[in-house]
């Protein structure tokens, strides 16, 4: 999902921690098993802390980078109404990034460090935001599919064992539902429009369908950190379970829109009650994650430029605050 970087095989194995007290480890696991929440200053295994820092910061980075594909259409939205809605949505993404950075900071990592890791390219963010938004229909498809997939993943995170992350996700999920509906609304309008509008909607679905399925990360057999994250109740469902749920709820929505999901192998399996679907191009997924997607370089360049262009504002605000404090002290 927004933290696919955690799931990759071939990553360096988790660092060995200094010896942790087995009694403490056991007491910790018991708390987690009993569905108690872990709070910021509680004792926790170092690997739990590290996993959460990586997961929450990757999630935050995804929200921040996720503003770019949609921001691309802010000045070209087809009406004032659509523009106002899109502005609100992009602002929400910034908000989500901030809730999440704030949650990650409770684990002892600084905001500056996280931002620096994003800007240098060291930190990962979701593969999905490295695809371009070529037409207005892409804004519909992103809201409907990308935010739809995100909701599927984020609802269980509201019950994550780490309190600050869980609470941030509750906020995010409330807002995400608006995002998905506004996306579907765009698709709905286009799919009832002229032939050209309908073709535009279909084209957007064609391009966003498979990357949306990739958002859930590698299949369970390939997913490296899943078992431990499940035991710690950071993760509640496997990648494949969530992907299947997403397909099952989304296909009927596409049918309602009169659009075709671009998968020849897609069919309802009468026995299981689930949709069977075709093989994902994992080669593409790993390429995008490795930095070779259509927009990876552009996304980071834009983010770095925004950071650099804002430097004088941050500096001025800091100096102003110092002057005001000095004046108050005098």
């Amino acid at each position: 999902m927004y933290t696919q970087g955690l799931d990759q095989k071939g990553q360096t194995a988790p660092k060995r921690d200094g010896i942790e007290d087995p009694a403490k480890l056991e007491a910790f696991q018991t708390r987690v098993d009993d569905e108690e929440k872990i709070e910021a200053k509680d004792w926790m295994p170092e690997a739990y802390r590290r996993t959460l820092v990586r997961q929450i910061s990757q999630h935050a980075h995804s929200e921040i980078i996720g503003m770019q594909p949609e921001g691309n259409w802010l000045t070209r939205a087809p009406s004032l109404k659509r523009k106002a809605i899109l502005l609100a949505k992009v602002q929400d993404e910034a908000g989500h990034g901030l809730y999440l950075y704030s949650a990650a900071e409770t684990l002892g990592v600084s905001r500056n460090q996280m931002v620096a890791d994003l800007l240098s390219g060291k930190a990962k963010y979701s593969s999905i935001f490295n695809y371009p938004t070529l037409t207005w229909a892409d804004i519909g498809a992103v809201g409907w599919l990308v935010d739809g997939a995100a909701i599927m993943n984020q609802i269980p995170l509201c019950r994550c064992s780490y309190g600050p992350y869980a609470r941030a996700m509750v906020r995010v999920c409330k807002e995400e539902s608006f995002h998905q509906r506004q996306g579907f609304d765009i698709m709905h309008e286009l799919s009832r429009g002229t032939d050209a509008q309908k073709a535009m909607a279909q084209d957007a679905l064609d391009r966003w369908w498979w990357p949306s399925l990739m958002m859930f990360g590698p299949g369970d057999a390939e997913s490296k950190h899943s078992a431990q994250s499940m035991a710690w109740k950071i993760k509640r469902f496997s990648n494949d379970e969530l992907r299947q749920k997403f397909v099952d709820v989304t296909v009927p929505q596409a049918e309602f829109l009169g659009l075709r999901v671009p998968d020849d192998d897609l069919r309802l399996n009468k026995e299981t009650g689930h949709y069977d679907f075709g093989e994902i191009d994992w080669q593409e997924f790993f390429e995008v994650l490795a930095g070779n997607g259509p927009c990876n370089r552009q996304r980071l360049e834009t983010r770095n430029k925004a950071q650099d262009d804002g430097a004088w504002v941050r500096e001025a605000a800091r100096i102003y605050a110092e002057k005001q404090a000095a004046k108050a002290a005098a």
């Binding site: 200053k41 908000g95 949650a103 905001r111 941050r314 605000a317 800091r318 605050a321």
Partner: protein
């Protein structure tokens, strides 16, 4: 990145008159006024609040979680502080 980090503030929001302020999260800001405005933009985009408190995080004094049981121990054995401790004889009402 070489910027000096702005201080961290904890954000508390009163959802509506009659309720207490409740912790919502945190924001970074250069000064108090900016902390209030950032908190507004981050945590109340949908009318979630009618009042905001921001407090520099370093000024929060917190109990130590590793001392939780000892710290709260004095209250543990005083069950007579709860009304359910007392048996009410049959026939007694309004008590």
């Amino acid at each position: 990145m070489t910027d000096k980090e702005w201080p961290l503030y904890e954000v508390f929001i009163r959802a509506k008159a009659g309720l207490s302020h409740r912790h919502a999260g945190s924001v970074h800001a250069a000064d108090d006024q900016m902390a209030l405005e950032n908190a507004r933009d981050t945590y109340t985009r949908r009318m979630e609040g009618v009042s905001i408190w921001v407090v520099p995080s370093e000024r929060i004094v917190a109990s130590d979680p590793t001392e939780t049981s000892a710290f709260f121990e004095p209250a543990e054995d005083k069950i007579y502080r709860h009304p359910t401790f007392y048996d009410i004889p049959d026939g007694v009402e309004n008590l």
